[in-house]
């Protein structure tokens, strides 16, 4: 049985007796913590901001030529299959968009991750889940750290966003150049193969290690000139370069 008479309030030991009473210690400890927390804010203003810290470049980039794309969506199914073991277009990290009212060459476009030099998705991530892989430089997601805030999805400057929401496993995901493709019996990543590139029957997707020149809308490349396209009779290959060719 608890008896307050035998367990009185903790005596306020005077400074003379023990040097420091418990209350004095708590005041000092609390005050120090408050000081450190507040001091950290003002002190932090003098530190280098994240923006001036160099970000490692990606080990490679996917080039696409939407004028070669037939819209078969094989790349989407291959992406989903390699990463998730199922052909679900909603799980694909590369996206084909089609405009049923559009005419060539504006009827089909390929939305692939640009592996941006200054990735907004990485910067926006509050937990470090969206990060730059130290070995390959690929911008990718550590799903164990993802809290599902979808800031990366919103931060991507492109439409549709190249950071995608995995509605089944509730985390964000994006193209990792097949670095982590557990359902594919090939080595992926910049030094391996990319499933979308491998299956594209039109040769509309190609991997490069040279940083493509980006416009505000990204980059698109001519993968036609010097191929059979030259003989197809479109009045000459559409010019390459620029946002939409």
């Amino acid at each position: 049985m608890v008896d307050n008479n035998t367990n009185p309030a903790e005596p306020e030991v005077s400074a003379d007796q023990k040097g420091l009473s418990r209350r004095q210690f708590l005041i000092g400890f609390g005050g120090l913590g408050v000081g450190l927390a507040l001091g950290g804010i003002f002190g932090g203003a003098f530190l280098l901001s994240d923006e001036v810290i160099a970000i490692q470049a990606s080990g490679g980039w996917l080039l696409v030529d939407t004028k070669k794309c037939s819209g078969c969506t094989s790349c989407m199914m291959a992406c989903s299959l390699a990463h998730h073991g199922e052909t679900n277009m909603s799980l694909s990290r590369i996206q084909i968009t089609q405009d049923p009212f559009g005419k060539f060459p504006d009827d089909i476009s390929i939305a692939q991750c640009r592996q941006c030099p200054y990735p907004s998705c990485v910067e926006a991530c509050p937990t470090g889940a969206m990060h730059v892989d130290k070995v390959t430089g690929v911008r990718t997601v550590d799903v164990a750290k993802c809290i599902g805030c979808e800031r990366c999805v919103n931060a991507c400057p492109f439409t549709p966003s190249r950071a995608l929401w995995n509605f089944e496993e509730k985390h964000s995901q994006k193209c990792d150049l097949c670095k982590d493709s557990p359902f594919w019996d090939e080595d992926g990543g910049p030094d391996g193969k990319r499933a979308c590139e491998e299956v594209c029957s039109m040769g509309a997707i190609k991997f490069t290690r040279e940083l493509p020149v980006q416009s505000e809308d990204g980059y698109e490349t001519d993968l036609r000139t010097g191929t059979a396209w030259d003989t197809l009779g479109f009045g000459g290959s559409p010019k390459s370069g620029g946002a939409l060719g």
């Binding site: 608890v2 309030a9 609390g30 005050g31 913590g33 408050v34 927390a37 805030c149 931060a155």
Partner: protein, 275 residues
């Protein structure tokens, strides 16, 4: 400009709140319970601050946390915008909760009797059986001389203490992940532990609100969490053991004591007490 979660832009508030609670406790002058005429001071100002900051913080944390998804249960909020809103609400509650909890913890360190009065005693099972048996209309039971807190409350306190401790430790690590690189394996342990502790806290919270605010018999105590005081008559009936500790004597007994006569010690059972 990129909008930021409060967990990112004001992370420092999460570090500040516990220390602010400790500092405030160090600077607080407490009042012990005392009988003042026909009423008894039950909760001093510090107790009420502790209770409501911790309690309201817990309520908002539970609501926003459950909305964000608990353990294997699906999240109630789906889109990015509503997740952001709920995380910001969660952040505000974290700051209030941490201040209140650490304020309580530091106050308890200064006066350990305030911790002891919450812990169950050897009478826990017997008193709880009699108390609630009487409440359910079983005539054979009599009201036990409960102390300041019922024995049933003291047992529930252990659950609240354990769940609060786990929630704070795991929650601090989850916040730390916004500012530093916390290993993924650690996060993989902390996140489910946080959720399981939250479920335990929810169980305690619902029971606490029901027994301390919804049941009419608890309304005097509920009022005292605002005013600080309970009626003497109420305390005589519900907390006879507590009044004994405060040195309460019935007027005739007190008069007799003043006259130097011997007063028979009160029965430890106090089964004859009626309000």
């Amino acid at each position: 400009m990129q909008r930021k979660l409060l967990f990112d832009s004001f992370t420092w508030l999460v570090w500040l709140a516990p220390f602010a609670g400790i500092l405030a406790a160090g600077l607080t002058k407490r009042r012990d319970p005392v009988i003042e005429g026909e009423r008894v001071l039950r909760h001093d100002v510090a107790t009420r601050i502790e209770h409501w900051t911790h309690g309201i913080g817990t309520l908002v944390l539970l609501v926003s946390g459950i909305a964000l998804g608990v353990w294997f249960l699906p999240a109630l909020v789906g889109s990015g915008e509503s997740v952001w809103t709920m995380m910001n609400v969660h952040f505000g509650a974290v700051v209030v909760f941490l201040f209140g909890t650490f304020y309580y913890g530091a106050n308890t360190l200064l006066e350990k009797k305030r911790f002891a009065e919450h812990l169950p005693t050897k009478n826990a099972i017997e008193y709880t059986k009699r108390h609630y048996g009487l409440l359910l209309g079983m005539k054979k039971f009599t009201m036990p001389p409960e102390k300041k807190y019922f024995e049933s409350e003291r047992m529930a306190y252990l659950l609240a203490l354990a769940s609060t401790s786990v929630i704070i430790v795991t929650g601090i690590l989850k916040v730390a992940a916004h500012a530093m690189n916390v290993p993924a394996w650690l996060m993989a342990v902390m996140t489910p532990a946080h959720d399981i502790a939250a479920i335990a806290m929810l169980a305690f919270f619902l029971a606490h609100v029901f027994f301390a605010a919804v049941l009419p018999m608890s309304w005097p105590i509920f009022r005292s969490m605002f005013t600080g005081y309970v009626d003497l008559d109420y305390a005589k009936h519900e907390h006879a053991g507590w009044l004994d500790e405060l040195g309460f004597k019935e007027p005739d007994a007190a008069h007799a004591a003043e006259a130097g006569e011997t007063v028979a010690p009160q029965s430890s059972d106090n089964s004859e007490r009626k309000s």
